[in-house]
């Protein structure tokens, strides 16, 4: 079910009055049932998978909270990452193995990859998002950031501890919460726990946010999409057309994604949950690090907290930090899609972030840059990001490079 569909509208219009009429203790259960229906209505089998995974993570999290076992933590992380890998990256891994085997003439490996190749695997909805939420949950328990004195989503019982039905319900709701299931933001268990009873003002402000999001998505992003399509056919488009398509895609992807986030945040507010903001005028950033503090904030903060800092963060040598940046941004690219051009997009940003870090090391930023300088930095950052979008939007790496080459050619 798409957030812009009539089915979703009907679903929400039925849910909101029932939610408002129920006493507050019954609301989490209603939301859980609604979320289960939302998910099972698409692919019932996948709903079973996500429920099974969430329960496993919950029980495992409780055990981890009691024992602090490293082996258990690693096993649980491998399980959730393995499920993501199977559904999302298995075909990529097989094709890469096959490519290598064919290139090296290893017939046995070639035959094995042909045998392992699975066709028509349908990726469960939102698997990338809830896998990251599982990793956050387990890691925070492991690092004791999620202690039992924190409120759980119902706000009535302590967080991870002994497994209980109420705790399982709350963790399932955290995982399956339908407004954020399809396109995020990536939630944190701690902040999701602070639910409240929505007032009339919450309802009005939430619905206004939903309308704003729908407007961004339906009126603007979808209109720009047809212009941005030209990036997929660089050899049939003039250089001017490709520049236009690049800017259109920059607008489309921002409006599309932030529109979905607005719908999710607004709807969550109507239902009494505060969801983290995901975008903060990212194209007004004057540097690439600032862009990543403004773009898909929930993902970039997740990557910072659970990938970059565990790898050593900024306290390593400059070369090591630059390498770590490349690594985490490549992983970020791979998270967006199982294809080479997404990885190259991530590497592009990793290179940019590393370059910014080195530049700042040798030439610290002025304390109060002039407005003209800020505009210049902003334009540079925006265009760096836009060229990244060409890598992101093209159907293949070859097409992306062809598009960029054509943008700078004089051919018509």
């Amino acid at each position: 079910m798409q957030l812009t569909s009539l089915t979703f509208l009907a679903f929400v219009l039925l849910l909101l009055p029932v939610h408002g009429l129920l006493p507050s203790r019954g609301r989490p259960l209603l939301l859980l049932l609604a979320s289960l229906l939302f998910y099972a209505g698409a692919v019932p089998l996948h709903a079973l998978l996500i429920v099974a995974m969430a329960l496993t993570m919950y029980v495992g999290g409780c055990a981890l909270h009691r024992q602090q076992s490293r082996a258990l933590y690693v096993a649980l992380i491998l399980l959730c990452v393995g499920v993501l890998g199977y559904f999302k990256y298995w075909r990529l891994v097989c094709s890469m193995l096959d490519f290598t085997a064919t290139g090296l003439g290893w017939q046995a490996l070639h035959a094995a990859t042909q045998h392992l190749q699975v066709e028509d695997v349908r990726i469960p909805l939102g698997i990338s998002f809830f896998t990251f939420e599982f990793v956050h949950y387990l890691t925070d328990i492991r690092l004791q950031r999620l202690t039992s004195d924190l409120p759980n989503p119902a706000g009535t019982a302590p967080g991870p501890g002994r497994p209980s039905l109420r705790g399982a319900r709350d963790f399932l709701l955290f995982t399956l919460f339908f407004p954020t299931l399809l396109a995020g933001p990536i939630k944190r268990f701690q902040s999701f726990g602070r639910s409240f009873t929505p007032t009339g003002e919450d309802l009005a402000a939430g619905l206004a946010r939903v309308l704003l999001g729908l407007g961004k998505k339906v009126l603007l992003a979808d209109s720009l999409a047809s212009m941005a399509l030209r990036l997929a056919q660089p050899d049939q488009t003039t250089p001017h057309g490709l520049w236009l398509a690049m800017y259109a895609y920059a607008g489309q992807i921002y409006l599309d994604f932030s529109g979905y986030s607005d719908v999710a945040i607004g709807l969550s507010r109507c239902l009494g949950y505060r969801i983290p903001e995901n975008f903060n005028w990212p194209y007004s950033a004057t540097s690439l690090p600032e862009f990543w503090r403004r773009w898909h904030i929930s993902l970039s903060s997740w990557i910072r907290d659970y990938l970059f800092i565990p790898l050593g963060g900024s306290r390593q040598s400059p070369a090591r930090v630059a390498f770590n940046l490349l690594l985490v941004m490549a992983a970020c690219g791979l998270w967006h899609g199982a294809a080479g051009h997404f990885v190259v997009w991530g590497l592009w940003h990793g290179l940019g972030l590393g370059a910014c870090r080195l530049w700042r090391r040798f030439r610290p930023a002025p304390t109060a840059p002039s407005r003209l300088l800020r505009v210049w930095y902003g334009l540079l950052t925006f265009h760096f990001v836009c060229f990244g979008w060409v890598l992101f939007a093209a159907p293949s790496l070859q097409a992306a490079l062809q598009a960029i080459a054509r943008m700078f050619s004089r051919a018509h």
Partner: protein, 520 residues
């Protein structure tokens, strides 16, 4: 009636006296404010009086409810002055554009609405109700002013149209009225749609006389019955690949199922353009994804075409159900196409894109110091050589994808099209046309093994399903001067194509007519 409100409406001498005290500069007020500035035991006494239940205060508050001057006197001093907020300002602060809204249009709008109108109460009390009221007014207005739109009712998933569905609607309506006619449906890309030709030079306008002439020539001398009217319908659009034609053929079959006309015959010309088998035109494999619903629900096929997988599960049934019923009954949904056509001249997104692109183009020309010149002054029937085109510009269009490659999507879809046309030949006889190509541009490419392999594979594919094939890509009668570019034809080219098509269609048109005559 509330007794307090009655008291409030009646002029109260006590209230007047108190408010007069307030209006006049009061030495008592000054005294208090001076006292407030310094820590004063008197202030404490006053505030203690305020906290304690005072019979005098209760008397005033009961009578006056909101403005108790004595209370206000002290509380105004104790509290900072509260700004007079718009009732929505709290909500506006939560809006992402709240600050902008407060500053500009919202302030203007709020001022305009302070004129005591009926709607003001609705706006202040129930903003969502206010929005619903406007929607209701719009719905009623649309119902009163616009006729029902059968196009959106038939295909509610695509309210602004999909792949020449307007022509399809007209065809279904024409066949439903029972007129004896031969309907020829041109289904394919821009060559059949004649998008580059002006009115009067289009294939759809040149084919009826050509086919009528041949039907007349075929009828027996002295026969009483005149040949039926020939109507040509262009269900074609630029860039339509084999996947689009396959889906459009299925859609035509479903549309005609409800409009059977025993007195008229229908034949389809499905075109296949060799350039769509090239690496250059491989992507997108389906130019009109709005037709995807008419493709077989095969996930591998959808993936191959770069489409989202066909939806399954509960929501895949509820969405069409809601779309169908809401579009049928709610004019706000049904009349989107009418409104877009009246206000924008077509689908809004295309109109927006065209406007934006032409605006940017004009701006670039201005920046270069050129004046934007309309292209209508030039003769639209100029051949390619007069347009400055070169062979090199189009050479990549004939770089054929190897047919055994998994990327040969258009060839695989052409095979499916041949199969579909073969199955439908009893109901909808189909002629497949390999559209003419500019020989001067093809040049040596004609002799390449990949090109020859492609054309022979196409012949054998259609022959295997007994589908008639008219292959004109290497027809020398189509002179280079008959082309606008690599494949689009001038008026002379369209005339020749119409003649060729008429000849090829004649057996298909006559066969069902003869059968009908035999049955009569």
């Amino acid at each position: 009636m509330n007794p307090h409100s009655a008291q409030l409406r009646a002029p109260s001498p006590q209230l007047n006296a108190l408010s007069a005290q307030l209006r006049a500069p009061s030495p008592q007020l000054n005294l208090h404010s001076a006292q407030l500035r310094a820590p004063s035991p008197q202030l404490n006494v006053l505030s203690a009086q305020l906290r304690a239940p005072s019979p005098q205060l209760n008397l005033h508050s009961a009578q006056l409810r909101p403005p108790s001057p004595q209370l206000n006197l002290h509380s105004a001093q104790l509290r900072p002055p509260a700004p007079q907020l718009n009732p929505h300002s709290a909500q506006l602060q939560d809006w992402p554009l709240g600050s902008l809204a407060r500053k500009r249009w919202w302030v203007w709008y709020s001022r305009r609405m302070r004129c005591g109108s009926l709607l003001r109460a609705v706006r202040l009390k129930r903003p969502l109700g206010f929005a619903l009221l406007w929607l209701l007014v719009l719905e009623v207005t649309l119902r009163l002013t616009l006729p029902a739109d059968p196009r959106t009712v038939r295909d509610p998933a695509h309210p602004y149209g999909c792949f020449a569905d307007q022509t399809l609607t007209e065809l279904v309506a024409a066949r439903a009225d029972g007129t004896a006619a031969v309907d020829v449906v041109l289904m394919g890309d821009s060559v059949l749609a004649s998008v580059e030709n002006p009115a009067g030079s289009k294939l759809a306008e040149l084919l009826p006389p050509a086919l009528t002439e041949r039907l007349l020539a075929q009828s027996a001398p002295g026969a009483k019955a005149l040949p039926p009217q020939v109507r040509v319908w262009t269900v074609a659009a630029g860039g339509a690949h084999a996947a689009d034609v396959l889906a459009a053929l299925t859609r035509l079959q479903h549309s005609l199922a409800s409009a059977q006309s025993p007195r008229s015959r229908l034949v389809v010309v499905a075109s296949s353009n060799v350039i769509f088998f090239s690496k250059r035109h491989r992507v997108p494999a389906m130019t009109y994804p709005c037709l995807a619903g008419w493709l077989p629900p095969d996930p591998s096929l959808h993936r191959q075409l770069g489409l989202p997988p066909p939806s399954t599960g509960l929501w895949s049934t509820t969405e069409p159900f809601l779309q169908k019923h809401l579009t049928r009954h709610v004019y706000l949904l049904q009349q989107r196409r009418h409104l877009a056509e009246r206000w924008l001249g077509g689908p809004p997104r295309e109109a927006l894109r065209e406007g934006f692109v032409s605006g940017v183009r004009g701006l670039l020309q201005r920046l270069k110091g050129q004046r934007p010149q309309p292209s209508t002054a030039e003769d639209p029937d100029r051949p390619w050589s007069a347009r400055g085109y070169t062979q090199a510009q189009f050479a990549a269009s004939y770089d054929v994808v190897p047919l055994d490659s998994p990327e040969a999507t258009n060839f695989q879809l052409t095979q499916r099209l041949a199969q579909q046309a073969g199955q439908l030949k009893g109901q909808i006889p189909t002629l497949v046309l390999i559209s003419p190509q500019n020989q001067a541009m093809l040049g040596a490419l004609l002799q390449t093994p990949s090109y020859q392999q492609l054309t022979s594979a196409l012949q054998s594919t259609f022959a295997a399903h007994s589908v008639p094939l008219l292959q004109l890509d290497r027809d020398p009668a189509f002179l280079s001067s008959m082309f606008l570019d690599q494949d689009h034809l001038t008026r002379a080219g369209n005339q020749l194509l119409a003649a060729r098509l008429a000849e090829a269609l004649l057996p298909l048109v006559l066969a069902p007519l003869s059968e009908r005559d035999a049955a009569d």
